[in-house]
């Protein structure tokens, strides 16, 4: 069942709180999200509303207090769900972490088997060819975000969660990156993008969700 082509992924009853006792803060209050193949969803919400928390929960990086996951309309067993998510869902940090070593080495980490041709293609795709031998930790914020996108391009997840992917970019880079999102979409990758940059995403965006008071609300198109 798990190896079937990806159609949709539905997360429901997502609850997450931080801290114990009096300091307990409920960030996600029994909300749900339905991600369909090839669809691009924009996620907005105030600072601190829990967008990053939601995305990291969906990627299996933090443990939800409760969550139910259905793949292609079928409920997944709790134990299987975790490894399933790890295989299909990829989360990119707003400030991506780069490992010690060259840009090339960091790209290689996204591949199961080393493949020089693919790495070259990815460098070209993200416009980082001139940076191949640079220490990845020494890249600028915007370049790191492009490198992280190139890693995702190599890894080819079914669902890609992007946390403010254009936050460190100038106008030109934002437009270029918007095109990279469109290419992910053409490939059939499902995108969930947390961003305040509406303008650059209007072309790729299919729908928009707002996270407010721990719940996701669909925004009607005007």
């Amino acid at each position: 069942m798990v190896d079937k082509p990806f159609n949709s992924l539905e997360f429901s009853h997502i609850k997450k709180s931080f801290g114990r006792g009096r300091q307990n803060k409920r960030i996600l209050k029994d909300t749900h999200i339905h991600l369909k193949q090839g669809e691009c969803t924009l996620l907005s919400g105030k600072n601190g509303s829990g967008k990053s928390t939601l995305m990291r929960t969906l990627a299996g990086l933090i443990k939800a207090d409760s969550i139910a996951i259905s793949f292609n309309e079928q409920l997944l067993d709790n134990k299987k769900a975790y490894s399933f998510i790890r295989q299909h869902v990829m989360y990119l940090y707003q400030e991506p972490y780069m490992f010690d070593g060259s840009v090339r080495r960091n790209l290689g980490y996204a591949l199961v088997r080393k493949n020089t041709d693919k790495i070259k293609q990815a460098l070209k795709w993200a416009d980082l060819e001139h940076r191949e031998d640079t220490e990845a930790k020494c890249l600028s914020g915007g370049e790191k975000q492009r490198l992280a996108l190139a890693q995702a391009w190599l890894k080819q997840p079914s669902v890609l969660l992007l946390d403010e992917p254009t936050a460190n970019m100038d106008k030109h880079a934002k437009i270029r990156t918007g095109k990279l999102f469109a290419e992910f979409k053409q490939r059939g990758t499902t995108l969930l993008i947390a961003s305040h940059d509406l303008d650059h995403l209007l072309q790729v965006m299919d729908r928009r969700l707002i996270l407010e008071n721990g719940k996701l609300l669909e925004v009607e198109k005007e």
Partner: protein
């Protein structure tokens, strides 16, 4: 004065003329300590890693336990293992007392807390985001772990060297557990203690020179590695 300089010349002669007994003692020292570090490092690094990146009940307690164990004197470790391994002890049937194995066990116990504490802080220096990124990029936890090992390699190497430094010159546990048997369990520190008590200083000084050189070398490597680590992180 005259006798002191004579003794030093005698010590250097022993070292450079390849005195067999002396070099056997040095060989035993390095063999036992290297074995101990190799055996201890694998579980210690795994524990340090788990303490850094997973949140389980009793994690903080475990961290303070290992930090407390850092301060336990070598003679106490020696005494505890001696009681366990002695003929009437619970592990007496293994007949391990006064063997190289007993010394290796003692040195594993001594180096373990340092290895855990230092690999824990090595992993922690790389922050949670690094581990999450490694997990996101890899298909399985093992290759993610390998990425992390490389990322903190300088810190881990520092842990190994510090652990080595703690056991190579340690006399209490080695004496009690090994018994100071020539050509078998006599290592550098126990030999120095014995020769000095007999009033024979030449061999002691020769071995002392080796230990000091060793300490110097370890410190140099450690400094070099830490320098590399900082460069690697762009500081």
């Amino acid at each position: 004065m005259d006798s002191l300089s004579n003794t030093i010349i005698e010590a250097l002669t022993l070292l450079f003329n390849g005195n067999a007994e002396l070099w056997t003692i040095i060989g035993i020292s390095f063999q036992i300590s290297s074995t101990a570090i190799l055996i201890a490092s694998v579980p210690a690094v795994l524990i340090g890693f788990t303490l850094a990146y997973s949140n389980f009940f009793g994690r903080r307690l475990l961290i303070s336990v290992f930090n407390t164990l850092l301060a336990v004197p070598a003679v106490v470790v020696g005494l505890t293992l001696y009681i366990l391994l002695s003929r009437q002890g619970p592990l007496g049937e293994w007949h391990l007392l006064f063997t190289q194995t007993a010394m290796v066990l003692g040195q594993i116990t001594l180096s373990f807390p340092i290895l855990v504490a230092m690999s824990h802080s090595a992993f922690q220096s790389a922050e949670m985001r690094a581990w999450d990124t490694a997990r996101t990029l890899s298909n399985n936890s093992i290759s993610a772990f390998v990425i992390m090992l490389r990322e903190v390699r300088f810190g881990l190497l520092g842990a190994l060297l510090a652990g080595y430094g703690r056991i190579i010159a340690e006399v209490g546990a080695s004496m009690m557990l090994g018994g100071n048997i020539l050509h078998y369990t006599r290592n550098i520190p126990t030999a120095i203690a014995l020769e000095t008590s007999k009033g024979e200083f030449a061999q002691g000084i020769a071995l002392g020179i080796i230990l000091v050189l060793m300490a110097f070398l370890l410190t140099m490597i450690l400094h070099y590695i830490q320098g590399r680590g900082m460069l690697a992180h762009g500081r």
